[in-house]
């Protein structure tokens, strides 16, 4: 592993390496991506042809969960690992449901952040910053975060399709716990995660390819590992389930075959310790 870079030393922008944010956009049919990203996406889809459906499912889960949070009264969202906020992004969904919703996008990819800034130009209640989920405690003190998010009020934290990019060595469970402990009661955590639970062989193949070819390691974690991200939180119904099965709006929305989704998702709420 490379040594941890001091905060003042910039990370370069390398267009020769696929970025998870742009690969995801490519899988969604967007054109906010480069050849290298499309190739990586195509290669992955060659192994698992329904991969674009997983991407769509995940995007739909994001939409449904953000709406749910707005219904629960959440008006500020911290979307970490947001990628490129193209169609169906969090601020569109949230602000359509409640115009006063504020959204801060955080991504480690400077291109995705620059991209977000273009898309968010003119939107006073949404902005994007470059940041690293792995140093979550830095985010909590970052003045740019504090300008948008009021940590005295409940926050909707979106960790959608990002935790599987963290290696075990990054201690993702501790990262989530740190955020959880710092936020006030009534905050929500929205988590979706690629999983080996349903199709271990496909998961293993995709994992190998991600690690060895695209240079974007992805960890397909077990259902237990994913569920334990919600430790200390009250998991709302229907629990940690396959992506399309989390509060579908109608039967017709369920496009993936039940029992086959590569993604698990859930929403947890931070309650007071006594309740």
């Amino acid at each position: 592993m490379a040594a941890k870079r001091p905060s003042w030393a910039p990370e370069g922008v390398d267009m020769e390496v696929p970025s998870p944010a742009r690969m995801y956009d490519a899988l969604l049919g967007g054109s906010h991506n480069f050849d290298v990203d499309r190739k990586a996406a195509t290669n992955a889809a060659a192994l698992v042809p329904d991969l674009p459906k997983v991407a769509l499912s995940n995007r739909a889960f994001l939409r449904r969960s953000v709406r749910y949070l707005v219904d629960m009264g959440i008006r500020q969202f911290l979307d970490i690992g947001s990628g490129i906020p193209t169609v169906g992004n969090a601020h569109e969904v949230a602000q359509r449901a409640a115009a006063d919703s504020r959204v801060l996008y955080v991504d480690i990819d400077p291109v995705a952040v620059a991209h977000s800034e273009v898309i968010l130009a003119g939107n006073e209640r949404a902005s994007a910053i470059e940041g690293d989920l792995r140093s979550g405690s830095d985010l909590l003190t970052d003045v740019r975060v504090r300008n948008i998010i009021d940590f005295d009020k409940p926050v909707g934290v979106l960790l959608v399709a990002v935790l599987h990019l963290l290696a075990d060595a990054d201690q993702p469970h501790d990262v989530v716990a740190t955020l959880r402990d710092a936020l006030p009661e009534g905050s929500y955590f929205v988590i979706s995660h690629l999983s080996s639970a349903n199709r271990p062989e496909d998961a293993a193949q995709l994992g190998d390819q991600a690690r060895n070819q695209s240079g974007v390691p992805i960890l397909f974690r077990s259902r237990e590992e994913i569920t334990s991200f919600f430790n200390g939180l009250t998991v709302v119904d229907p629990g940690v389930v396959e992506l399309p099965l989390w509060r579908p709006e109608s039967e017709a929305d369920i496009d993936e075959e039940p029992g086959r989704s590569l993604g698990l998702a859930g929403v947890g709420r931070k309650d007071s310790p006594t309740s």
């Binding site: 030393a9 054109s31 480069f34 991209h115 709006e249 496009d255």
Partner: protein, 704 residues
């Protein structure tokens, strides 16, 4: 014709046909609403005359805008926009309808394609711009970082340099260049060998090679660098390899600190701590370092100025200092050319060390040279000062090579030289010297011996001649020297008196004696048992003596009558008013006082009457048998008888010392002597045996 109901039904079919190509932003219901709008537009297009292809194009564009971009979306839409559309919306199956449908197909497809192309181009444009912006931001941050690094690099107080694998200098900052005495441009491109100096590079290069080979990760060394301007800079240099991912070094970073000032200061401190500020000669510390390290055999000349105190006292310290400097200079000129070390040890004491000194005569020659420096007077402030010195001369052949012993021997010999009339040198005399050396070593060892409890007390019974019962004990001090073994009081008491240690020793004896008496008092309950402690004349003259004695009694909790102080005649003889006052105070407090060794000196009996004394102790010499073999010397016998008679008339007890035989005891009883002490009644014994004597006596008394 077209009803809201039929539009809705078609929208539902349309939405179902798009299953699998759902745009994620919309729910199914939203999608159906959205498609109902599009269906209305399509219906409008069917109705319009002339044809309005822009309505069809708008529908195609709307799909793209709603993120339905997959080619299958267009396919499914066009397939539906045929018979199904006609049937659902209730159009007649006419040529006009067919041609309108066909035109609508074209318009929707066209709108879809154009919108798709525009969207993709716009998104690509945005993406490119974002990438560019990110790259620019990264570049800006890199530049800012570089600028910060440059500021740190250029402004650092420590010297920093970057060296490539060949040892060539790639970068140096101003601080480094300053240390090396060159400009940065002058250094860049040279090898480190060039810049840190050939005399150091062997040392540094070996380390550098190890660094290059990966044997070490860094090294640190101090080099004395000869700068081009001729100045020498001491540089503390450390170099660290910066390795790439494969572990091989890419380059090296050197960090240097100029330690020239620090080194100079260290040298100065070292020099100052080892030299005498007044004369500039080596001081005691340096002298002993040299002595320890000196090559045998050794000679020492220990010089002390004669009457130096007079110069200080009469002419002032300036004169004294001047004389010391003058003497130091002359001595240095006299002996340094011979390769000797001369040092000032203290005050007016100088010492010359002669290494590899083949014979004692060589030392004598140096001593002669040293004395010769006093040949001419020293002029100070217009006065001609005649100064002389005395020298003790020793050679390791006679004394051994131990530095401490050599110095003691030199000291002892110096005092002999002084005693034999100053202004001369004296050679160490082994016969006299041993004794002196022992005295000397006892004197120096005594303070530590007191601290380390090397002294102990023995107790000799003082008995009543009436019934031979023990009335008291004389406390007698002993010294268990760790090296010399048991040292006799005859040896160390005079030394203690000479050196003034007798006061501390006397106080120690007093305390221990009182403590012991108190223990016996507690254990055996004999309330008139006393401990008798010897007091030296100097002790008695201490202004605090009375307070010390009474304080000790108080602290120990011993009744004053259980303590007896023994004083010699000489201690209380003459006009010692102070002593008399002290004795009166002690006597008044109840302390017993005895005159020790009575009869050995000039016994001033008249004086004796004025003293508040309780007891006379007749010296053992008066009890010695006569030369004719008589048990009692008739001449002495008369003196003893008269002394006892006189003492009794003055109201004093008499105790005879050194009683060894029964006839002696019988005679003393006849003369009405009160008490006795001697081998007949028991010699000095350790405290445990003394306790046994008391235990026996107590048992006898109880059984009687």
């Amino acid at each position: 014709m077209t009803t809201a109901h039929s539009v809705g039904r078609f929208a539902t079919r349309w939405a179902a046909s798009l299953k699998g190509a759902v745009a994620p932003a919309m729910t199914r219901a939203e999608l159906e609403d959205f498609l109902r709008d599009l269906t209305e537009q399509l219906a409008e297009a069917m109705r319009s005359t002339p044809c309005r292809p822009e309505l069809g194009r708008a529908v195609g564009k709307a799909l793209i805008d709603a993120h339905y971009r997959d080619a299958s979306v267009l396919n499914r839409t066009l397939a539906l926009l045929d018979d199904g559309f006609v049937a659902e919306l209730g159009y007649e199956d006419s040529a006009d309808v067919a041609s309108r449908i066909s035109a609508l197909h074209g318009a929707v497809a066209e709108g879809f394609a154009i919108a798709l192309r525009d969207t993709v181009l716009a998104e690509q444009e945005t993406t490119q711009r974002a990438a560019l912006a990110a790259a620019r931001a990264a570049e800006e941050r890199r530049r800012a970082s570089e600028a910060r690094f440059q500021a740190v690099f250029a402004g650092a107080a420590v010297g920093i340099g970057v060296v490539d694998l060949s040892g060539a200098v790639l970068e140096v900052n101003d601080a480094m260049a300053g240390m090396l005495g060159r400009t940065t441009d002058d250094i860049k491109g040279r090898t480190i060998g060039d810049v840190i100096g050939p005399e150091n590079i062997g040392h540094a290069y070996a380390e550098f090679q190890k660094l290059l080979a990966g044997d070490i990760d860094q090294f640190r060394l101090e080099t004395a660098h000869l700068r081009p301007d001729g100045r020498v800079a001491n540089v503390d240099l450390s170099m660290t390899a910066v390795r790439n991912r494969t572990g091989t070094p890419d380059f090296f970073i050197g960090v240097a600190v100029d330690v020239t000032e620090r080194r100079r200061l260290q040298n100065r401190l070292w020099h100052e701590s080892r030299h005498d500020a007044l004369t500039g000669l080596p001081n005691r510390t340096l002298f002993f370092e040299r002595l320890e390290a000196a090559e045998q055999p050794l000679g020492l000349c220990y010089l002390d100025l004669d009457g130096f105190k007079n110069i200080n006292d009469s002419l002032g310290h300036d004169a004294g200092d001047y004389v010391l400097r003058a003497v130091a200079n002359r001595l240095r000129k006299a002996v340094e050319p011979d390769g000797c070390t001369i040092a000032r040890l203290a005050g007016d004491e100088f010492v010359v060390l002669i290494e590899r000194c083949g014979s004692p005569d060589r030392v004598a020659r140096e001593a002669e040279k040293m004395l010769a420096v006093f040949g001419r007077p020293i002029e100070f402030d217009g006065e001609q000062l005649s100064v002389t010195g005395s020298i003790g001369v020793v050679h390791s052949a006679l004394v051994g090579r131990d530095p401490g012993r050599l110095m003691r021997a030199a000291d002892v010999t110096l005092y002999q030289a002084k005693a034999n009339g100053s202004g001369r040198w004296e050679r160490y005399d082994p016969a006299r010297g041993e004794q002196e050396l022992t005295r000397h070593s006892l004197a120096t060892a005594m303070p530590a011996a007191l601290a380390h409890n090397e002294f102990l007390l023995h107790y000799q019974p003082l008995v009543s001649l009436d019934d031979s019962s023990v009335r008291g004990f004389e406390a007698l001090v002993r010294w268990d020297h760790p090296r010399l073994g048991r040292v006799s009081p005859g040896q160390f008491i005079p030394v203690a008196e000479e050196t003034g240690n007798i006061n501390a020793l006397g106080q120690w004896v007093l305390e221990q004696g009182c403590l012991q008496a108190r223990r016996w008092f507690d254990e055996f309950g004999i309330d008139d048992l006393y401990v008798s402690v010897n007091v030296a004349a100097t002790q008695l003259r201490q202004p605090t003596f009375v307070a010390d004695v009474l304080g000790t009694l108080d602290q120990v909790g011993l009744p004053a009558m259980c303590l007896q102080l023994e004083l010699t005649e000489s201690a209380v003889a003459g006009d010692t008013h102070g002593a008399l006052v002290a004795l009166r105070e002690l006597a008044a407090a109840g302390v017993r006082l005895a005159i020790d060794d009575f009869g050995t000196g000039y016994s001033n009996l008249a004086h004796l009457g004025r003293l508040p004394v309780h007891q006379l102790k007749i010296d053992r010499s008066l009890l010695a048998s006569s030369r004719k073999g008589e048990v009692v010397d008739p001449a002495h016998d008369k003196i003893v008888a008269a002394t006892i008679s006189l003492a009794h008339s003055l109201g004093l007890d008499v105790l005879a010392e050194g009683v060894e035989t029964t006839p002696q005891a019988d005679r003393l009883r006849l003369l009405q002597c009160d008490g006795a002490q001697g081998m007949l009644f028991g010699g000095p014994v350790p405290v445990s045996e003394a306790a046994e004597v008391l235990a026996c006596q107590t048992r006898r008394a109880d059984s009687a």
